[in-house]
């Protein structure tokens, strides 16, 4: 079978090439691997597959009733007549209206990520992030890694939208999250010099000085081609807007047209990759009658991945998919949803061990993720399922720190009561030197004390392990360090 890929840009990889963080999901897929490396692996596979024709810099222009697709290839209009068509055009960023929203300095989060992670350009010094979904949280963290000051994350809802481990990651850098707030105005004459945010309950206003306002206020499926060919669409807010009606094999209402990824409904990248595999195999199955076994395996894995995503599953139910599927109600995690800081009681429970040195798994939210389990040399970490909370067998734990290095949420730490030290994950430059005194910060980025670095374990995937000396009373609070030179 021959495959042709059309890509508007001059390179493959879509959003993956900007994702410098480690992915969640199952170890069987790409969990624990940074998006940029997943992209590299996928691109390598495509390039070494001979029956794939790549059309880069090639924008599809239209799809006509006689089955002809036109595309602009090297600025020349070319025609193609495929047997099957898979549309995986991804998503477009939603915007929100506020005063002076056309000032230079107002960016979409995608643009900020492209500038920063593809072209190595920092969009500004002081950034105000609008939206606390995973994109808002991740881009804030990446901005901080690139040494921008993230002045705050503004969230209109009363709880954080993204995964709470991502929220904890930005909170320990000292970045505040303003829930129940929205942006009302950008300040500045010729460019952004600040912003006014407002508490939606009390209407209290707050001025924040910044030179970048970054909008991470959601995505919607990019469905131009589907709209053109009169694919039946349905408005489903849970999936980001208008999505194509399709069956469980991602086959749309138009003959021979399939969808995969965000164009079918906004979801996490791991689900998009599985959908791509599913729809590709199913299109091939319709031609060859093969691959049915593998198709069913992927469907099961997708289901497993969606076990805790009530929003996505509720959206899919409106398409008459996943009808019998039940998402367990989320356990309330109290203030953690609002602050990104786990409640004291939850942390105390993790500290009850009599052992001197052991890991602390600050992983409280049910999300599909399991790399910690297989990283443990003594099998001390157990999980009942992909979406369950990992449990640590303190008797088996030797405090080696392997799980600290692999946890995609940077939510694991090791404390040593006798040595009075903490091992924490560190993804910033410069790295401290052994023996150097660094600032030790708590979960909100507050300075606890200055103390000495005992050891540094440099890791290949750049989540380095730093062991710092910490006074006894700060053992359970020390979650980040700052190198001051």
């Amino acid at each position: 079978m021959n495959v042709a890929i059309f890509e508007e840009k001059e390179f493959l990889g879509g959003q993956l090439i900007k994702q410098t963080h480690k992915f969640f999901g199952s170890k069987d897929e790409s969990a624990g691997i940074r998006g940029i490396y997943i992209a590299k692996n996928l691109i390598n596979e495509i390039e070494k597959t001979e029956n794939i024709d790549l059309y880069l810099n090639s924008m599809v222009m239209g799809y006509y009733e006689d089955g002809v697709i036109t595309a602009l290839v090297n600025n020349k209009m070319e025609k193609f007549i495929p047997k099957k068509v898979i549309i995986a055009t991804g998503a477009f960023e939603k915007s929100i209206p506020f005063e002076n929203d056309d000032l230079p300095g107002v960016f979409g989060a995608g643009a900020v990520q492209t500038l920063m992670n593809v072209y190595g350009i920092l969009p500004g010094k002081d950034v105000l992030m609008i939206g606390s979904g995973n994109i808002g949280l991740i881009v804030s963290y990446q901005l901080a890694q690139a040494r921008a000051n993230v002045k705050g994350i503004v969230e209109i809802s009363d709880h954080i939208g993204g995964y709470l481990v991502h929220a904890s990651k930005v909170r320990r850098l000292g970045i505040p999250i303003y829930t129940q707030h929205t942006i009302v105005k950008a300040l500045g004459k010729n460019k952004v010099e600040g912003a006014i945010i407002e508490n939606i309950q009390t209407h209290e206003k707050k001025e924040i000085s910044c030179d970048v306002i970054c909008l991470a206020t959601g995505l919607m499926p990019l469905s131009d081609i589907l709209n053109q060919i009169n694919c039946e669409m349905k408005y489903i807010p849970e999936l980001g807007g208008f999505v194509p009606i399709r069956d469980e094999n991602l086959k749309t209402t138009v003959e021979n047209v399939f969808v995969a990824g965000d164009v079918a409904g906004i979801e996490e990248a791991t689900a998009a990759m599985l959908e791509g595999e599913l729809t590709g195999l199913y299109a091939a199955y319709e031609i060859t009658g093969k691959f049915d076994k593998r198709i069913n395996t992927i469907k099961e894995r997708l289901k497993d991945l969606r076990k805790t995503s009530s929003k996505v599953v509720n959206g899919l139910k409106k398409l008459n998919l996943y009808e019998d599927f039940i998402v367990e109600p989320h356990e309330s995690l109290g203030d953690l949803h609002k602050t990104g800081i786990p409640e004291e009681e939850k942390i105390e429970n993790l500290l009850s061990s009599k052992k001197e040195r052991f890991a602390i798994l600050e992983c409280f939210q049910k999300i599909p993720c399991n790399p910690c389990v297989s990283s443990c040399p003594t099998n001390a970490i157990k999980m009942d399922g992909l979406n369950e909370i990992p449990k640590l067998d303190y008797d088996k734990c030797i405090g080696c720190g392997n799980c600290v290095a692999v946890c995609p949420g940077l939510a694991i730490f090791v404390i040593d009561k006798k040595k009075e030290s903490v091992i924490l994950p560190y993804e910033f430059y410069p790295l401290p030197e052994k023996g150097e005194f660094v600032e030790i910060l708590d979960r909100e980025g507050n300075l606890l004390e200055r103390n000495q670095v005992l050891s540094i374990r440099k890791m290949k995937d750049k989540t380095n392990l730093i062991e710092v000396k910490v006074s006894k009373e700060n053992l359970k609070h020390s979650r980040h360090i700052r190198v001051v030179r």
Binding site: V60, M61, T70, M77, K79, F98, Q228
Partner: protein
């Protein structure tokens, strides 16, 4: 918020005030507003403003989004020289 200073359609420079005035005048679908104001007729083809205008209409009229907003696209999806449309190309 001063809705004269809020740009809804970035491509065609149309403010929230203009959109609200049109809704009050009785233009209550995204398609109608596009035709009278050019909102959504610029390079991004209504991807940014479409959902915002739809929400505004829905909020004011009480009609659900899917009733006031039905995105439809026509080819070509991007800019193209006329000679490419008029000229002959080989069929693959």
């Amino acid at each position: 918020m001063d809705d004269e200073k809020i740009i809804v359609c970035r491509c065609e420079d149309i403010t929230l005030k203009e959109i609200r005035d049109l809704i009050k005048e009785g233009f209550t679908t995204v398609e109608e507003i596009k035709r009278v104001s050019r909102a959504g007729m610029g390079p991004c083809q209504g991807k940014t403003c479409g959902p915002i205008i739809a929400r505004e209409i829905s909020r004011i009229t009480g009609k659900p989004i899917e009733e006031v907003y039905k995105p439809h696209n026509r080819p070509p999806f991007g800019g193209i020289f006329f000679k490419e449309i008029v000229g002959e190309t080989d069929e693959k």
